[in-house]
């Protein structure tokens, strides 16, 4: 059994912690009861299950114009329009909207908060029915495939037979690859952006640094910090600061900050944020802890680390794409050193290996891995062109 709920709007209690209030975010919820557990790669299952999601545009009568947008590590279901909590534009607002490359006048966009996340879908903050307390660190480890399995349940719940397109960047791109290989007959076209078929040793290493920063914070309390009315915000902020560096590039950091000093004329011979780049990172860290749950950060980085698409296909990536009818468009960015072009090109080579219908664009920019979220016109044009051509092949009007 599955049910849908949609709260009228944000709670008006004046509370400012969006995480505590996330069960009442103004979005849609699909609830799956004990008869519909989510089977997990780890062997266990998750039940009851909630998937928080947002939709944009209108589903056509043939139910053939749905696009699943998969969010990245720290993203959420609010990919377009205005974010109901932060009041800022949705994370892919540049790309998705009326008349934009992902045109909400033509397509029906679904974006779900991933399982293990902290914006309304079942995750570490959800209540464990066995204990009546939040799962915290006792939530089973979630994988990318588990996230996609929950999205498939959502699609069934919405009674949508197949997707016109699945798209996303970074961790979202991993979900796209899982979707397009394991549910190929339900995916007409796929756009994995700035991603990889497996998480590299270097990327696992960066994630481990972030996790250790959280775990080393005395306020983590074995994951039960909420019960003690505290959060490991220092550890999480350090994790975010380290990760944020990997989302940029040396060139972008130099262009933005150089060695410029922060509100001072000379270095202070101390450990204040003398440099602008330090101040910027501290700000990134401090704002992140207000909107993200530390346990979720542990779970989602782990999910990315475990991602190895070939391993799910007997170690042979050709099996993953064999006989695929899905049209692919892969995009990488020249200055992305987290998911470099070489990693993206491996996807292209695997698809070439089965003579699949694939486009591959490498976009020149100094904006690093974050390019997929930023104002990069070449990306918009590639998305627009690919979707227009796929829509024509699918027989969608317009």
């Amino acid at each position: 059994m599955s049910t849908t709920t949609k709260p009228a709007g944000p709670r008006s209690s004046g509370k400012s912690d969006p995480l505590v209030d996330s069960a009442s975010l103004p979005c849609s919820y699909a609830h799956f009861g004990p008869d519909r557990p989510l089977k997990l790669d780890s062997g266990g299952q998750l039940s009851p299950l909630t998937v928080a999601y947002e939709t944009y545009g209108t589903l056509n009568s043939a139910r053939s114009n749905a696009i699943m947008v998969c969010h990245a590590l720290t993203g959420d279901q609010f990919c377009a329009g205005v974010h109901p909590i932060t009041g800022k534009p949705g994370w892919w607002e540049l790309l998705i909207g009326p008349g934009k490359p992902v045109d909400t006048d033509r397509f029906f966009i679904i974006c779900a908060n991933v399982i293990g996340g902290c914006m309304g879908s079942t995750g570490p903050m959800s209540i464990d029915p066995a204990t009546g307390k939040p799962y915290g660190h006792s939530l089973p480890v979630i994988t990318i495939a588990d996230m996609v399995r929950a999205q498939v349940m959502l699609l069934d719940h919405l009674e949508i037979p197949d997707l016109f397109c699945v798209m996303g960047g970074s961790m979202g791109g991993m979900q796209v690859l899982d979707w397009a290989t394991k549910y190929s007959d339900r995916v007409f076209s796929a756009m994995p952006i700035a991603t990889a078929m497996k998480h590299s040793a270097q990327n696992i290493a960066f994630h481990e640094v972030g996790r250790q920063a959280v775990l080393a914070d005395p306020e983590w309390h074995g994951g039960d910090y909420r019960e003690r009315d505290t959060t490991p915000h220092k550890g999480l902020a350090v994790a975010r600061m380290a990760a944020h560096i990997t989302y940029l590039s040396e060139a972008a950091l130099h262009r933005k900050f150089g060695r410029n000093l922060q509100d001072r004329d000379a270095v202070t011979f101390g450990f204040d944020a003398d440099f602008q780049v330090e101040s910027y990172l501290r700000y990134q860290g401090s704002t992140f802890v207000d909107r993200f749950d530390a346990n979720s950060y542990l779970y989602l980085t782990r999910a990315m680390d475990y991602f190895d698409l070939a391993a799910d296909f007997d170690g042979n990536i050709t099996n993953a794409f064999a006989n695929t009818k899905t049209r692919y468009c892969i995009v990488s960015f020249t200055s992305d050193w987290l998911f470099p072009t070489s990693e993206n090109r491996m996807i292209v080579r695997a698809l070439n290996g089965v003579a699949a219908d694939v486009s591959f664009v490498e976009i020149e920019t100094d904006k690093g891995h974050d390019s997929f979220l930023l104002d990069v016109p070449e990306l918009f044009e590639a998305v627009e062109g690919f979707l227009r051509s796929a829509a024509r092949q699918r027989g969608l009007d317009g």
Partner: protein, 212 residues
């Protein structure tokens, strides 16, 4: 072939070989255009022959333009990336005015005939009379309509004549199904007598190859 990007956009001149190639391709087939530039041939094939048209292009600019047009094109290098495709995956693998810019034309040709049931190759004939005249009489590297770029900037590193290409095809054990030459005005040298002095008269040539 790192400088192949200089070939794209391809020189704005008579592209009659694209039309010839389009005519040579059977409708409703699967085609890979290697070095597809801005996708002119792919568009032509998709529109006129309902072909499942794919492309490989080395320049980012060319690839981006193709993808924006909705063409299925990957950024790649003919010298290294053709080996990723399975055997006989395409009905035709096409290289228009590109093979002379590859690092290892023989290997590229071998790969083309492996992954395609047929290979279609067009190239500038370096034994054309005007080229011979410019080298042999005037004593300098040729600048012609087909070869407009001076020697110090040209991406073309492996020139050949029609006779050379014939020899390579023989060496590779392939059959020439068709061979079409063009003179400097873009006129086809075909029919009776077309082979007569073709290596002298043809400025460009299109070969259709098949490897049993």
């Amino acid at each position: 072939m790192s400088n192949l990007s200089e070939l794209t956009p391809k020189p704005a001149r008579d592209r009659s070989d694209l039309m010839v190639i389009c005519d040579l391709v059977e409708p409703d087939t699967k085609v890979l255009d290697v070095g597809c530039g801005n996708g002119e041939l792919l568009e032509l094939l998709a529109n006129r022959k309902n072909v499942d048209a794919r492309g490989v292009e080395i320049s980012q600019e060319g690839v981006n333009r193709c993808v924006m047009k909705g063409l299925s094109v990957v950024q790649g290098d003919a010298d290294t990336d053709l080996e990723t495709y399975p055997d006989k995956a395409f009905d035709y693998v096409i290289m228009s005015h590109t093979i002379q810019a590859t690092d290892r034309p023989r290997d590229v040709l071998r790969q083309m005939m492996r992954i395609g049931k047929r290979a279609i190759v067009s190239f500038p004939n370096f034994a054309h009379w005007l080229v011979r005249f410019q080298i042999g009489i005037k004593g300098h590297m040729p600048i012609t309509e087909t070869l407009p770029i001076p020697w110090y900037e040209t991406p073309n590193v492996h020139f050949c004549s029609i006779r050379d290409f014939d020899a390579l095809v023989t060496e590779l054990g392939a059959d020439v199904e068709r061979k079409i030459g063009f003179d400097s005005r873009g006129r086809r040298l075909e029919g009776p007598g077309a082979g007569f002095l073709a290596n002298l008269r043809a400025e460009r040539a299109v070969f259709v190859l098949e490897k049993p």
